[in-house]
């Protein structure tokens, strides 16, 4: 008899993610689904996912300061960490995508009407693949805070948007990384939509002396943890 086959079964998220309807963040009011959601059974489509390889990442995609003729203005920073699962397993060779505004708080996007200057040397897009131990590393500039229309005098704390694939459809995550000690946290309904203050802290990176490079750039460390899994039995079936 062959060895028993198993497939991963991912653990539940236990209220970590912000509720979709978070009325303080005005845009959720007309976009959050209102019906209760059925739990999607974890079958083949959910436990697999796109494994997007080298073809997606150019040699300078991890360095947002070297994508144009000159260097962008702003404070140069290194942002690095590991992509892991809840069981502490590294997720190797997985695509990490980032995007952010420039040092003045303006995105290179036609809809961004914030009257702050664009920087011809900054697009604000980065990509990399994690290495065999799940490490990623970007070089960029400190993103500026920017105003938005959510409420009167609303400002987003400085953040970098992150997109992670992990190894399965279930592990897919899009989130934002924040910087330590930002005075704008208290009035930001996106950050505060996460109900548990200690869970919000997981989105705040840590300044690191070890990662900081003398006479060159400040270093910030941020690890990203995707859902963990245990093995569950799989009964082989005839191919349909």
């Amino acid at each position: 008899m062959p060895d028993r086959l198993t497939v991963p079964h991912y653990s539940p998220t236990k209220g970590v993610h912000p509720p979709l309807l978070s009325p303080e963040y005005g845009s959720t009011r007309l976009r959050a689904p209102s019906q209760p959601m059925t739990l999607l059974p974890q079958r083949l489509t959910e436990i697999t996912g796109p494994l997007l390889g080298e073809g997606r990442v150019g040699p300078l995609d991890h360095d947002l300061t070297r994508q144009h003729a000159g260097e962008p203005l702003g404070q140069r920073i290194i942002v690095a960490g590991r992509v892991l699962d809840e069981d502490g397993r590294a997720i190797p060779n997985t695509l990490v995508e980032v995007w952010q505004p420039n040092a003045a708080g303006r995105y290179a996007h036609v809809w961004d009407q914030h009257p702050a200057p664009l920087d011809p040397n900054f697009t604000g897009v980065g990509r990399c693949l994690t290495d065999a131990e799940g490490h990623y590393r970007f070089i960029t500039i400190h993103p500026g805070a920017y105003p938005w229309k959510n409420h009167l005098n609303a400002w987003r704390p400085s953040h970098i948007h992150f997109s992670l694939f992990g190894r399965s459809f279930i592990q897919r995550l899009v989130t934002q990384m924040y910087f330590p000690g930002d005075p704008l946290f208290g009035q930001d309904p996106i950050y505060n939509a996460i109900p548990d203050p200690s869970v919000r802290q997981r989105l705040v990176c840590r300044w690191s002396l070890e990662l900081t490079e003398p006479d060159w750039a400040l270093g910030y460390v941020w690890d990203i943890v995707l859902r963990g899994s245990t093995g569950t039995p799989w009964e082989p079936q005839e191919r349909p």
Binding site: L30, P41, G49, H109, L173, V199, P240
Partner: protein, 185 residues
């Protein structure tokens, strides 16, 4: 060891700065043998199109295969990408060019009808929302699909695309009347 799960945040209004790829909508090149188009509009609770959303799709190949180490079956060697992503345009419209997936075993003796998993990201969505596209020409398999049969007729009807020749129409209503059935993962 248990590490603390990283919480989700919205993609925000400027997702197209970072997440769109020229070939994103092409799971297969347009004009490929057997290619189908899946197109639809994303609407908010007021019935207005969402011009700042993105959908991502993930699916098996036409033989029900995945190129993935966690698929426990003897896998057919396939180069099928299986993944599509498309930001919505000014009218909230997205389009994906792909191949129709095959049915899949459940691992406990049953069969799933051909389907595509979909994630929707947008400003105002603090986490992606997830749904599935099913096909109207799979009447027999849809009738026994374990997920479809667990839903109300109303919810089920929001998951079955409408066929117009080689195009399948799949509108996504985030909220309100005929709200799409979304799933917790």
């Amino acid at each position: 060891m248990t590490l603390p799960l990283t919480p989700s945040q919205t993609v925000g209004p400027f997702l197209s700065v970072g997440l769109t790829w020229t070939d994103g909508p092409n799971v297969v090149p347009s004009g490929s043998e057997g290619a189908i188009r899946i197109t639809g509009q994303v609407f908010d609770g007021a019935g207005n199109p969402a011009p700042d959303a993105m959908i991502e799709t993930w699916q098996a190949d036409p033989d029900g295969g995945f190129v993935h180490p966690d698929d426990p079956r003897e896998s057919a060697k396939s180069s099928f990408r299986g993944f599509g992503r498309c930001a919505t345009d000014d009218e909230g419209v997205f389009t994906i060019v792909t191949l129709k997936p095959g049915p899949l075993p459940t691992g406990d003796g049953r069969l799933e009808a051909p389907h595509i998993d979909v994630s929707i990201f947008a400003r105002g969505l603090l986490d992606r929302v997830v749904t599935r596209i099913y096909f109207p020409d799979e009447v027999a398999l849809n009738a026994t699909d374990p997920l479809l049969t667990s839903l109300s007729e109303e919810a089920r009807s929001t998951l079955i695309a409408v066929q117009e020749r080689a195009t399948f129409r799949f509108d996504i209503r985030l909220q309100g009347e005929r709200e799409t059935a979304f799933f917790e993962l």
